[in-house]
Amino acid sequence: MKQKRFLANYSQLLIPLIAILLLVIFNLFRDPGFFSVGLSTNNNGDPVLQGNLISILNGASELVILSMGMTLVTAASGGQDISVGALAAIAGSVFVKVLKGGDITILTVLGAFLACCAVAMAFGAFNGSLVSFFKIQPMIATLILFTCGRSIAYWINGGATPTVASPILNALGSFIPGIPVPTPILIVILMGILFSLLFRFTTLGLYIQTVGINQSAARLNGINSVGIKLLSFILLGACCSVAGMIGVSRLGLINHETLLINIEMDAILAVAIGGNSLGGGKFKMLGSVLGAYAIQALTITLYAMKVPSTDVKAYKAVVIVLLVVMGSPVVKEWASRIWKKLTSKQEISVRKEAA
């Protein structure tokens, strides 16, 4: 019985796990050394880990963080926020704006992060209030920021590609001297811990699911559904600010037009591949995280395969269609029916033997 509940609880992780497994097997066949990780020295003379595995984990960081927030918004509101890329660009611009104000020290970087976090959470609250209070469809509500967000990001700095350079930023976006693991990976782990603590010690996760499943029932049970939806958007705003900060720190440059461009679609896709219903309700954040890594693994695989520039999107589309079909309710139904038949036959044969 316990095992069954465990299966029901985690079966939704099957699709992203299968996706990752398939990509791993495919790559191992293609190039046995694909996942080898080596220790080398970077141009600052510090030891760093290197290899495709690290590239995937590192490169997916922003997407993973955004898909964490997207999971919450999807679960609570039953819709998606399509402005996350634009909001990350705004957050990144604020981050750069504050840093350009003076000398870059650990304190100013911290201040810049708090500032961009506050701004992004305010924009998140704007989106959230449109959705929760005015009951606008999330995709329409966030379309506003999706359209004008990158222009706002431009206004903040008033220049096309402002640059900032500092060893501290390098440590934030690349490697901390002495630690061979890329910092963005560490930030993702930190975010994961924060969210799991949030779910472990508060009832937020349960409330979000309840609001997503049935808003009126949640309200009748004394849950402030407007507040919960608003909170999910504010948390997504915070995720956007972290993603924007990482994106800026990686290169010491903000290009408001290209920073995390089109990432909203990948983030939504990660939520879907993770087996979460895009209609809201029950959710598993781990699924979205695995989904995000699967998407990044796919991208890096295509780069490693040297697929021609013009064909990349087509290849990606084929794989994604396969994944989404695999995770569709119809296929799941088939799979569970076949599974039941197989297990019942086994049970019968076991019984026969016993008899």
């Binding site: 290899g51 640059t163 490693a304």
Partner: protein
Amino acid sequence: MRKLIVLLLAMVMVFGVFSVAHADDLIKVGVVNNPPSESGYREANVNDFANVFTKENGYDAKFFYSIKNDEQLAAARQFITDGVDYLLISAAETTGWDVVLKDAKDAGVRVFLFDRMINCDKDLFEAAVVSDMAEEGRTAVNWLLAQNLPEYNVIHIQGAMGSDAQLGRTGALDEQFAAGTMKKVVQQTATWDEAEAKKITEAVINSGEKFNVIYAENDGMARGAVAALDEAGITHGVGKDVVVMGFDCNKWALRELLAGNWNYDGQCSPFQAQVISEMIKVLEAGGQIEGLNELKQIISVEKGFDAREITEEDIATYGLGE
């Protein structure tokens, strides 16, 4: 208090009449352009026009910025109705302009195109001042050939597929790949995205393949590729393992050249206003515009900067942005 306001109003009216009367000797110009937020290139382009078409230079200029073709068309119509003498256009899209340009011709408004061509009859405009992206590519590739490297293993990072800049800057390099003088290690689009350029370069480094040239079709992507090199401990720049090439001449990129971290940066000149202004002055004096090619174009003079020769002065003159 009331007296003061009346006085102020009177002054405003007097000056208003004065300035209107004065505006009559100015050449009326309507500029339709893309918004400065589009790119560093556009920002410099917008500033260039604002600096050249001033009252001091004898112009009464109005500016309109939009990234949408229909809004640009409406603005162009409005400029014609307002009775401008000259219409300067950098179109968002190459099509849909025929009717407006015919209206302009009928109204006696003379049209100059800049930065981007429009698909229309050549009689509908006086001249077009544009960049030759293919020439930019050739200049860069010729520079690369002149380096006499023992071998050329090139990581080629492309811009958004199908854009003018991508097609032009890819063309010259593709010829070398086809001729076998250079080896294509990878040719991949990062769609102008710095972070993607870094991932593409990482993928090559992880595969262990040899390469000694990075040819990125803009500065941002070159910066992304260089970030990957730095993390992998591969040296780059003047006299180092990998030759780094970028385009667009942002100030920060030229400073990388000056520091010897990059090797080459190709210019894409956003400075067309002066050339157009000179042509307008010729027309106003009753002269003929000369020096156009068969497409009625004037090709902007564009340089390529070598890290060993670049100076602070070059950065101040040709660099875009801050």
